[in-house]
């Protein structure tokens, strides 16, 4: 986190003050939200406060409640690594880590997220050295068009950390949520096997 004080305790005014100065904020603050009467029915179009930690960096935004984590990352935080494939939780191209667990960012509302998020942009070391999984995907040509690759890599890292990369069959089962329409599957399995030895060694 870049700020030490807890934002969730901050007042609404503070929130919008900080929001207005943050680079990644969408200009969606409706005046009705600030002056709403408590008796009124909640306005479904009023922005909600979204407070994310993405790749170690705090991102505070005021967004339409419908905004998925994927859209918050891509449109509002400028992180376009996670890809929008089907947008229905079937393809896995949008896979990111939430609290270290692989999560479909298209099936998660940004406002629901309360744990730190890691995207493909946050996987490499700060000196730019690639994560062993990224290097393994390059070494083994584990992609063709590359569109599914960020999701594949995020899922693959979790697959190894969960202890589900014991055999090729196990890898295939536990990578089943990530589709590759170029069908680079055999190379993806080989890449994961290589990265596993490095991640565990």
């Amino acid at each position: 986190m870049t700020h030490s004080n807890d934002p969730r305790g901050a007042s609404r005014r503070d929130f919008f003050k900080i929001s207005a100065s943050a680079a990644a904020v969408a200009p969606v603050v409706a005046s009705t939200a600030l002056h709403a009467q408590p008796e009124q029915k909640p306005d479904p179009f009023a922005p909600v406060e979204v407070d994310l930690v993405v790749n170690g960096q705090r991102r505070r935004m005021a967004l339409d409640a419908r905004t998925t984590l994927l859209d918050a990352l891509r449109r509002h935080a400028g992180l376009t690594g996670a890809k929008k494939g089907c947008d229905h939780g079937q393809c896995g191209a949008c896979t990111v880590h939430v609290g270290g667990k692989r999560t479909l960012s298209c099936l998660t509302l940004a406002v629901m997220v309360r744990e730190p998020v890691t995207t493909i942009e946050g996987l490499a070391a700060t000196d730019g050295a690639l994560h062993p999984m990224q290097q393994a995907f390059i070494d083994h040509d584990a992609f063709q068009c590359g569109y599914c690759t960020p999701g594949q890599i995020m899922s693959a890292v979790a697959c190894v950390k969960e202890g589900h990369a014991g055999s090729a069959d196990e890898i295939r089962e536990y990578m089943s949520g990530n589709l590759c329409r170029c069908a680079a599957y055999p190379h993806i399995v080989t890449a994961i096997q290589q990265a596993k030895t490095q991640m565990e060694g």
Binding site: D43, D87, H88, G89, R102, T103, L104, L107, T108, G177
Partner: protein, 267 residues
């Protein structure tokens, strides 16, 4: 997705009151079914009541001879819990077969049970194990809970708090899954507690989960896959779609039941 008002209650009582106040509002737990359904505009709830900040709804514990699982406990927690693996290993295995790993990381038991998808796995486990669905107002036996396609006995303003599974001597689940969606084309959960044997079938019935009484009677003579040989299941009332005809599903029920009994005996 249509707009909705978003609510974050901190207690079950607040959640229930918001649900009662907002007609057609929906509870949001893991969102793995509700959100894609809303994106497809098959559902357009005017209000979402997110249980994410409600404390005490997630967790797994043994209470006497029952395994009690909190409503917002995620599938991955049930699949990997040592408590579940020891008490009802078939239930842990079933949870590990739901969807894919990312879905299991967010999807919840309460959400699955409340949604009552006719091809979901948990309804079969609840019915076969004789579970009790505990809400903020009452206790509902599984037998009375699942009332039809996506229909349950839940009243407006009623929130599932936990689900209690009696610990049985033998139980297992066998699933013939659609290779793309991982939903059950046919899933059979078999449970044996003393002389009480229950066989629950999901994915096949055109009215949702049901008990296969003919198979139960056959297994009462002897709890063995051999008892099921020659017992045919009628295709009447079964689903037919692009994935399988009613006749094929009827055949699969017998095959999956045998596999489930074999697995249950081996535990």
């Amino acid at each position: 997705m249509y707009a909705f008002s978003y609510h974050q209650p901190k207690t079950v009582r607040q959640a229930a009151s918001l649900l009662a106040k907002n007609e057609d509002g929906k509870i949001l737990a893991g969102g793995q079914t509700l959100l894609p359904t809303m994106k497809q505009r098959l559902a357009a709830p005017p209000a979402l009541i997110d249980l994410g900040k409600v404390e005490g709804l997630s967790g797994i514990e043994l209470k006497g001879r029952s395994l009690v699982i909190g409503a917002t406990t995620k599938h991955v927690q049930v699949a990997t819990s040592e408590i579940v693996k020891q008490a009802i290993p078939g239930l842990a295995e079933m949870a590990g077969m739901i969807g894919d790993p990312a879905v299991r990381n967010r999807g919840t038991i309460g959400g699955s049970v409340a949604n009552n998808d006719p091809a979901a796995d948990y309804p079969a486990a609840c019915l076969a194990l004789g579970a009790t669905i505990i809400t903020n107002t009452r206790k509902i036996p599984a037998e009375q809970f699942f009332t039809g396609l996506f229909e349950t006995a839940l009243e407006p303003g009623e929130v599932i708090v936990k689900i209690s599974f009696p610990i049985v001597s033998k139980a297992a689940y066998a699933k013939f899954r659609n290779p793309a969606s991982r939903y059950a084309m046919v899933g059979v959960f078999v449970a044996k507690r003393g002389s009480d044997i229950r066989v629950a079938v999901t994915g096949a019935g055109s009215n949702g989960v049901f008990r296969a009484t003919a198979l139960e009677e056959a297994l009462k003579k002897r709890f063995s896959p051999k008892s099921l040989e020659g017992v045919s299941v009628s295709a009447d009332g079964l689903n037919g779609d692009i994935h399988a005809s009613p006749e094929y599903r009827a055949h699969l029920i017998g095959v999956m039941a045998k596999r489930a009994v074999t697995a249950a005996i081996g535990k």
